[in-house]
């Protein structure tokens, strides 16, 4: 129990160090991009020198870099991420507004990818070389290899707007309709309706890796003694598969958690294609005008999600796989 506590504290300390590094990296990284936020937001508008100076001061850009970094870290530790250059609102408010749509898109996308990848992967791995295996593996690879924005645009034009005999089935962008009916059920249907194409794009590109991972794990398990024993005992295929699944689930979960972090960033292109009002869109806009506070904020959120997802994958893994809990006696099967 004490060992558990110590390892827990060590883990937490590691987390904090990682977050601090992220703060530092984020601050430096975005300052390496050439460009000046004040010049970016005033470009093309008539300005006076006094106006430029006042903007610099207001956005805290007139101080030396180390002072800016110090203030940034102190503010960030206090939960203040600064004020957006573009929106002139607190960064935390701007990010909070966009977190929901991104979480919805990536959450549903990852969930469906895992489900479809598992279902197809287990089946394909169970009889390697079968027709189902060949077809499903080939299509998983093909989808995985597709550039996300390209697939998104194709879906947008074909299924969103409609081509030839295919009618325009789904909205081509956004999260809500213009003339949306009032009421919660209508809103849920409306958002769900807009979610279909972005989600389909994400799932199509994502599910392949689960499919391939599960497939190879299942193939590796096929020759294990416990499966032969089960078969000898006369169990049905589906029952045997269930036993194999317990051993396959671990790596899949790690991958899913890892991806959950990466997906938040990966959704950038899907959000750009389908005008989904999420964090990806926000980052894209912030990059265009060097909105440093927003970039720091989104970088922090993205990194935090990856760090937290990885740590929780470790934790869940230990729960899921008894072999990783050293206190317990090891017993296969």
């Amino acid at each position: 129990m004490r060992a558990l506590l110590v390892s827990g504290i060590a883990r937490l300390a590691g987390l904090l160090v990682q977050l601090l590094l992220v703060l530092f990296l984020g601050f430096l990284l975005f300052r390496l991009i050439p460009g000046d936020p004040v010049r970016a937001i005033t470009r093309g508008h008539p300005t006076t020198p006094a106006q430029i100076a006042a903007l610099r001061q207001e956005l805290d850009l007139d101080r030396p870099l180390p002072v800016q970094f110090g203030r940034y870290v102190i503010d960030a530790v206090h939960g203040d991420l600064g004020r957006s250059v573009l929106y002139r609102r607190p960064v935390s408010a701007v990010i909070a507004e966009r977190l929901g749509p991104t979480a919805l898109l990536t959450g549903v996308g990852t969930g469906l990818s895992v489900l479809i990848g598992c279902a197809l992967g287990v089946r394909a791995g169970w009889r390697p070389g079968s027709r189902f295996d060949r077809w499903s593996t080939a299509s998983a690879l093909a989808f995985w290899a597709m550039p996300t924005f390209w697939l998104g645009l194709i879906l947008l034009v074909c299924v969103g707007a409609g081509v030839g005999p295919i009618p325009g089935l789904f909205p081509v962008g956004g999260m809500r309709s213009v003339g949306g009916a009032p009421g919660l059920p209508a809103a849920v249907i409306d958002v769900g309706w807009h979610l279909v194409l972005p989600c389909l794009t994400l799932v199509a590109v994502q599910y392949g890796q689960y499919h391939l991972l599960i497939r190879s794990s299942v193939i590796a398990e096929l020759d294990q003694g416990y499966l032969k024993l089960s078969r000898a005992k006369g169990l049905r295929d589906s029952q045997i598969r269930r036993r194999a699944w317990a051993n396959v689930a671990g790596p899949t979960l790690t991958l899913a958690m890892l991806n959950l972090g990466l997906l938040v960033t990966g959704a950038v292109s899907v959000e750009a294609v389908f005008s989904w009002p999420g964090l990806g869109q926000l980052t894209f806009q912030a990059l265009q005008v060097h909105d440093l506070p927003v970039l720091h904020g989104t970088f922090l959120v993205f990194s935090a999600v990856v760090i937290i997802a990885n740590s929780s994958a470790d934790l869940i893994q230990t729960r899921l796989d008894p072999r990783l809990r050293r206190e317990l006696p090891y017993w296969p099967g």
Binding site: H45, L115, V172, G174, H290
Partner: protein, 605 residues
Amino acid sequence: MICRSRRFPRSSPGILVVLLQSILLMWSMAPPAAADVDRVLSVGILQDAESLNPFLDTSASSVQIFRLNYDRLTDYRTADNAIVPGLATAWKVSADRKTWTFTLRSGVRWSDGKPLTAADVVFTFTTIMSHPSSVNSSEVKTFSSVTAPDGRTVVITTRVPTATMLAIDIPIVPAHVWGDLDPMAEVRGGVSSLVGSGPFQLVEAKTGQQYRLSRNAKYWGGAPAMDTVVLRHFNNPDAAAQALRKGEIDLVGNLTPAQFGALSKEPSVTINEAKGSRYTDLVFNVGAARSDGKAVGDGHPALRDTRVRTAIELAIDRRTLVERVLSGHGEVGQAYFPPSYQPWSWQPGPGVRRDFDPAAANRLLDDAGYRRGSDGVRTMPASGPEAGRRLAFRLYAPVERPHYAQSGRYLVQWLHDIGMDVDLATRDSEQISEQVVAGEFDLFLGGWLLDPDPDYQLSIHTCGARPDANGDGSTNGFVCDRTLDALYLKQAEQVDHDQRLQLVQQFQQRLYELVPQVILYYPGVLEAYRNDRVSNLSRRPAATGSLVGSWSYVTAKPVTGSSVTNGPSARLATVLLWSLTLLVVAAVTVVVLVRRRRSTDARRG
């Protein structure tokens, strides 16, 4: 977890069918598309409205919202961009041309019912004057005081005569709302704080998604025909074009030639090519220096020679650029402003024009002593500075719009033909601006959108626009010329329109003589709208102008008996068609599965 379910892998096609069916069900229940709702004009915007505070933002989309939500003292007439009354019905200027007296329209009320008075105008202007970081502060830079002798009179005194007084594009905001707010912070209370007096009132703002404005039935200029204007944000111009094709939106601007061409084939879409509001130029580094005169950067010395710049202009075939790069959607460039930019535009006479003539370009360079080396590239004359240096230039093209790089590739070839070695690089426009301000460039491609008033476009060619010690400046290519500066100052202080017009034209003529840039072309602004949903949109100016803007939404009318293509009956038919297809697919899948199951069972047995 479904994966654990015993039967799942085998029944996955079944689940797929159920999923698809539920999607179809959702579709049939989904709320109707935008245009089914009466009297809604929905416009696709490609840039998000950044802030809803008129003291902070002048992004294109925010300006559209402010123009609908608020009024200004004076306005532009839609037909010809002439100055017409706005909130002010009359104005007069004193003999010394430094005191302006505006008489306000009577009976104008804010959307919350309170009367609009001179105090609101005074509040708006003085707030901007006391907050230098406010976005419109350059428009009031010559103001010394703004007062209201009575409820309907506003007196503005300026330090110097101000020609742009009637072109001031500042939304007048209510003092009783903004008096309690920090004008430099985002509006607290969201849309409820945007009490306005304009033809539409903002009622809903969803950042990154859409902005909804409702008709002001009591608008002094007459209530608009549309009940609602919705500005819908798209990240991606292709999605916006598809949304128009499908009828999710009614109007969209800033299309690419490819999108424009595709939309022109749709019977229910009308296209519009607006002219006279943009130019694309090739800018020379004519000798970069800061506003205090200190030279900066590493521009090629040959470009300080007007003869070299003239030769480059003569080597460029603008007609080919318009035909090949813009697919014909634009006008061939020549002078600073496009001919349709009326009344300001000046055009060179037949003997002065610098049209495509590569032989003349070569002659000019030969005569100036730029001899060709063994590799065919010319070198600096032996007598001048940096003798023998090759005429090798860097050319930067912004990556944001493809026409820059496409034009750049033509330029590389044409300049090669007159003995110049050009290295084309595409860069982020932000990065190019940083390099330009530092003087670290030879040539770059850029472009501007023109305001109805030319003052700003002239100011970027004055000595004062060159960067200061901090690197802040709005110069286009470091032009600094006494004559230009004098003309600029005179026109800025010339209150008489006709006299100012002459000065502005003289400025353009002088600029043309200096050859600080080559105006390549004036790209058309490509727009399209659904003619089955909306009619009576207005162009500004009427002959050649743009349909996308507040002036157009105000006159827009719904088409009666619309929603032909996406009506309920059409929708029902498609649902039936798709259900049928799905049923067939499902039946085939079931048959195949049953047969396979039998065969595997047989093998196992």
